[in-house]
Each structure stands twice: as C-alpha cells, then as structure tokens.
Symmetry: C2
Subunit: 421 residues, 2 copies
C-alpha cells in the first residue's frame, strides 16, 4: 500500500480483504480451525521475548507520556500474562464449534425440511483500548466462530499488538486464510471513522472499553454495534427478604470488586425493613470504607451518610461509593430501576415468590437475579468459556456474550423438487 | 396536545406513552392478551361500515391525486378484505404466546439456576405504505408479543387506518393498556424523522415497503432497523441436477408470481448442462412471456435473448424478466451470488451432496434451498403463522420473521443467597 493512500483507501482494502477471507474462514472445518488456533498459541509462547521487548517500548512511551499507573498496568505484559494469553487461545480451541449446529428442525407437510443452522456472521471490527491481551482473545474467538476480524487496538499498545499478532500468524500457514485476522496498520482515528462507514463489507462492530469509546463508535457507525454501556446495577431488599442473606448479597455486590460493571451502584430497600437492614449494612460496610449517598428517608437511619443528588441515581461509580434509597414496595423499586438503571444486572432479595415473579418480569435488564449477588454476570460464571463482552443492547445478544453470540443463523431447506402452487 | 406542538414534542409524547405502556403490556397474561385480541377482532367486524366509509374517502383522494391502479388496489378495502383482517387478528390470538418461554436452562456448580427466557423487546415503530390491513396485522402481532407499538401508515390511507384502529380499540378497555397501540396523529415526514431519533424510548423500527422507504429509514435512524431489502434470488442448476426437477423449479421460481421478493431474478447454469437445459427452459417459459437477458455464453443457446448488462445482475425485476448466466462450477455460482445477490433466498438443484453442502455453507443468505423452489420463503410456508417481514439483515433475525422474532430474551437467575468469592 503506498504511503500516500488515503485512510478511506486503507479502510476499503482492509475490509475487502476481510470480506474475501470471511468466506474461506466460514468454510474451514473444526479441525482446521483448532489446528490453526493451537499453532497460534504456540507462536505466542515461542515469541515471548519479542513480545516482551515490544511491550517494553510501549511502556517506555507510556511513561514518557505520563500515563496513569492504572493505564500502565493495563498495558504491561509479563511472562505470566503471556502464559495466560497462550492458555486463552488454547481454551478457545477447546470450545465447541458453534458453526453448523442445528437450532431447530421442522418438516413441513409438503416434505420440505427446514433446518435453522448456526453460521458465522462474517466480518467483525473489534475496537479496543490499552490491554494488549485483547488482540489474542478477540482474534481467536472471532476466528473460532468462523468470522474474519479487523482489530483496532489502542495507540499506546501498538508495538505489543503487532508483536502478538505476528507471533500468532507466523506459522499458521494455510489453516488461517490471508486476511482472516488483520490489525489496522495505524491507529489513526480517521481510519476507524472510515471503517465504520463500510456497512456493505463489515457486519458487526464490537467496541471494548469505556462508555466514551462505545458512544463515539455507536454515533459514527453505519454498522450494527454490540454495545456494552455502563453497569448501573441495583440490589432491592424486599420486606420479605431473609436479612442475613440480604446483608451478605449487598456487601458482596458492592464490596467484592467495586471497579467492575456488575458491582452494585444503588441499594434499594423496602420501607418496612429499612430500620433493621440499613444500620447493619452500614456497620458491615465500615471495613470497606464505603461512602453512602442517601435519599432523605434512608438518611434517617444512616446519620453519617451524605444526601444523594439526582446524578447519584444514574452514576456508575466503579468505586467504594453507594447510592441508597428507600422505596415503598417492589413497584417502587422497579420504577426506580427502569428510570435510572442501565439494563445490565439487577437483583432482588425476597422470599416472596409473587414479588420475585413481578420483579423478574418487569425489570427490563439483561440479567435479573433472585436471591443472589449481581457479581455473577460474566461469561465464565455463565459457563460460556470466553467472553467478548456483556451486551446492554436488547437485539441480537443480551448479557454475557461468548462464542455463540458471534454467530447468526441461516435457514437451510432440503427438498426433493418441491414447487409452490 | 396543542395545535402548536412541534413534531419533536409530538414524537416525544407518543414514544413516552408507548414506553410507559410497554411495561404494562409485558406484564399481561396470555389470557388477557387473547381476550383483548378477540375484542379487537370483533370491533373491526362490528365497524365494517365505518371502515368502508373511511376507506371510500381515501380512495376518492387517491383517484383525485391520480394514483396508479396498482396503488389504488393496495389501498382498497372490501367486505372480504375486512373479513380477512378480522380473521388475521383472531389467528394472532391463537398463536402460542412466546413470552416467558424458556430457551435454555443451566444449573451451575454453585447452584445458580440460569434460565434464558423469551421476553418482549419493548417499543416498536412500524412504518408502512398504502395497505391499510397492516394496521391490524402489525398492531396485533406486536401486542401479542408483549410490545407496545407506534404505527405510522401511509398518508394515502390515513382515514382507513384511523377507522381500523378506532374499531380495534373501541371496546378493548383495560386489557389493552393506554398507549400500547398508537397511530401517529399525522403522517408528517418530520414526525417520523423525530421518532427515529428517540433511541432511548423506541427499541426497534420495522419499515414495511419498498427499498426506497427502507433505505431512507435506515439512514435516518438511531434505532436498530429490521430491514428487508430487495430479493435478488438465484437458482443454480448444477451439472448433477435432475433436468426435469431443475426445469420445474426454475419455471416455478420465476413464473408462479414474479412480483414478489422470493421470485428468481437470475438463473445460473453449469456450463456442462447449459446446452441441454437452456433451450428446454426457454421453451417452457414461452407461455409466460419471460424476457431473457443473457451473458454471451448462454446467448449461444438462447438466440432470441438480449445481452445482459452489469445492472441486470443486480436487478430485482419483480416482473417477467430473467437474467441468465453460465458458470463453470458451483464455486462460480457462489462467487456470482456473493457478488450480486441480496442475501435473501438462493437455491441449488443438484443430486451431488458434496456440491450441495458447499453451496449451503458458502452462500451467505437468510434461506438456502437444495432442490426446491425459492418461492417458499415466507412466514406461512415456514409455519410461523403471521409474518412481520423477511429480514435480509444478519443480526437479531434473519429470513421470515414472525412473533418470535418480535421478542428478545433475558437471563433470569434463581439463587439461594449465592455470593461471589
């Protein structure tokens, strides 16, 4: 490609190559894909030194650019982290191949056999930020699902990403068709913008990163985007809750790992049990230094807490901060969740089955828990093996997305000469 | 609403009412929904005279505006057409309720029971053209699937559409929550444009009509659109085809109803059988007055045919016109279909299972037939009962879409106090 090629031209070449490769990847057998994946894993293992050297360059640039310690930690590769990446690719090889699985078969009165069969989606564009391991994770998962993928990593990880992909593809030969896995040659924003216009060539965009990245991609894209907006997760403690269970679940949902999307951000408590529940909860939360931001009613039971503002009900703190509100019943809890939530994960603690049933039906979230912590919403906990993200969309895929969510279906109809009258 | 309300304000009111109603519709039992639907059907039957009068006004306007006879026929209601509409609503009442159906249940080692359950999508916006029966069809199907719906019919059918909806909702009372089924108060284009921006309130847009309408909606919309672009359907006659079967299928696919999306538009023939097949096909096509547009190779066997241009390979004629091309093998047929097709419906006629398997895997279309006519691609033929459209998208829903495709799923997780370590 000439140096003077425009971003539009580069985008078109990348996407055309991917589209061309997609048909070949879709036609690979499970054995061929698995052989390729094991070769990719071995390649990463064999090139550990080169990958670490490339990563050191990225880390040096990051320090010069005075990136935050958290950013640098996400960027950093170590021998154990490379081992984990290698194991991740092997794990994908060991996943069941979703392609070709029959979802439903129907024989019609005229003898036509209609088979709804899982098949690859086609071409994916994965846009991610600083973690270089996404290069190996996303590439292997998209490939195993029979798709071609264009990877666009963060500019701060550019050397690491290229080193990883070179290691993966170095010996893979014919089992991985040319163009099946590509990394954008630059991290120029104009190139992403051009790629996002190519809805005739690219089938799905998967942005992995913060809400800002995802909103920017969704606004620019003419292609469907699998979105993971924020996780404003709620736990509602009903009047019929077992108090011990409710305390354990609420503490776990907030404090076990506050920086992740399935952590609780707002606690809703039935007014009849607030006086019992809230002071006990506050006491258990002391060792975790949880800052409480309350409505006026709950502040009566939590004298050290500050008063919440409207913004607190919508906040994804990702921190040891919790909004607390008293509601008059399950209807009030659902109203609050529907008004302020992000449709990611919400939980109820109750022994009342009718109340649980109402909560389950009327809370419009990807995952709804009855008597369990919100923290279980992820691919591994759902038995999905590997995860490409957690969808807060309602169409195509909801909640934790694994390899099956990287496929679609087609109807294959076997006949014996049927014509329509 | 005041006369001076802006289109933006009207859009917001409509969508907010729908969003509010959606939660109530989602919570209705199957019995409640069916009672409502039977009452709606009775309402339409009881108000036949009023509907015919309203329709007469639309027809008068259409004649004054000199709309085409085809347009006027689509617009026209008659007593039998109203009977069919009434029966259509009753048929929807008799469909199995998809809401609450369990798609998959998984018990995890920690005892969590993860249930993947069908649930409504939320708020639909259905945009359609002249046929007034879509008002009853779309309203009843969206409602039975547990969704709220905003209907925006064609300006030429405005009196008919309002009369139909008034008849449906007149006696339905509490079983149909206010705002569950709404018709836009005007057919102003600016109002549609405003509705298409409300991605926080509306979940899915379903345009029903020509390619122009669908492209315009998809380009304006910030909301996911269930698209039905054109049907450029192919039949490929392989060298291993039974010639009698191939002739019957090709004639049926082209001539039984050329104006529909599942009719064949391009015939592809293996070079080894072209000399045998094409003259026989041309002879059988004579009574149907099929105009043939051929590549140079096939013209050798079809002396009366004209030469096809590049545009012919992409054309959805919806008429007694057929493009014909000779290919060297199944790979050539797939190449052609992937380059020019619309991913709607394609068929192969062959007795060679390996060739059929390759075609089935590599043709990236919603429906792929082996030894049957393309004409079977529709909801009724797929046993879906009622159809909202045929999707040429790859995500969410592909091919004929019935009531199940108007739902999504959520994960409902039952625990007994599980917390995550």
């Amino acid at each position: 490609m000439s140096v003077s090629a425009s971003q539009k031209e580069i985008a078109h070449v990348l996407a055309s190559q991917a589209k061309h490769a997609a048909r070949r990847v879709a036609a690979l057998s499970t054995e061929e894909k698995n052989k390729a994946l094991h070769t990719m894993a071995e390649g990463v293992a064999a090139h550990q030194t080169a990958i670490l050297e490339a990563n050191a360059r990225d880390i040096n640039h990051a320090r010069t650019a005075k990136l935050s310690d958290a950013m640098i930690d996400r960027l950093l590769l170590t021998a154990p982290r490379i081992d984990a990446m290698v194991q991740g690719v092997r794990d994908v090889a060991n996943l069941d191949d979703p392609v070709g699985a029959s979802l439903q078969t129907l024989t019609r009165p005229n003898g036509l056999i209609i088979d709804k069969v899982r098949c690859p989606i086609g071409v994916m564009l994965v846009i991610y930020e600083s973690r270089p391991n996404v290069t190996a994770d996303a590439a292997s998962l998209c490939f195993k699902a029979g798709n071609a993928v264009i990877l666009r990593g963060g500019s701060e990880a550019v050397h690491s990403n290229h080193a990883i992909l070179d290691a993966m593809l170095g010996n893979v030969g014919d089992f991985c068709p040319a163009g099946a896995i590509q990394l954008t040659p630059t991290t120029d924003r104009a190139l992403v913008a051009e790629l996002l216009q190519l809805d005739e060539l690219i089938d799905l965009v998967i942005p992995r990163g913060g809400e800002g990245l995802i909103r920017a991609v969704a606004e620019q894209s003419r292609i469907p985007v699998l979105k993971h907006y924020k996780g404003v997760c709620h736990v509602y403690v009903d009047r019929a809750a077992d108090m011990g269970m409710a305390l354990r679940i609420a503490i776990n949902a907030k404090c076990s790992r506050p920086g992740v999307c399935n952590a609780m951000e707002t606690l809703l408590v039935h007014e009849d049990v607030a006086e019992t529940f809230l002071p006990q909860f506050a006491e258990l939360a002391v060792p975790f230094n949880v800052e409480l931001r309350c409505d006026e009613k709950s502040q009566a039971f939590l004298p050290n807490a500050s008063l919440a503002t409207e913004d607190d009900w919508r906040a994804e703190y990702l921190d040891m901060i919790l909004a607390v509100r008293i509601v008059s019943d399950v209807e009030g809890a659902i109203d609050h969740i529907e008004q302020y939530g992000s449709h990611h994960t919400d939980a109820i603690v109750t022994a009342d089955e009718a109340v649980a049933g109402k909560f389950m039906r009327e809370v419009d979230s990807a995952t709804v828990y009855i008597n369990a912590s919100t923290r279980f919403t992820d691919g591994a906990e759902f038995g999905k093996g590997a995860e490409i993200g957690i969808s807060t969309d309602k169409l195509h895929a909801r909640g934790p997305c694994g390899i099956e969510e990287l496929t679609t279906y087609k109807y294959v109809i076997h006949g014996s000469g049927q014509i329509r009258e």
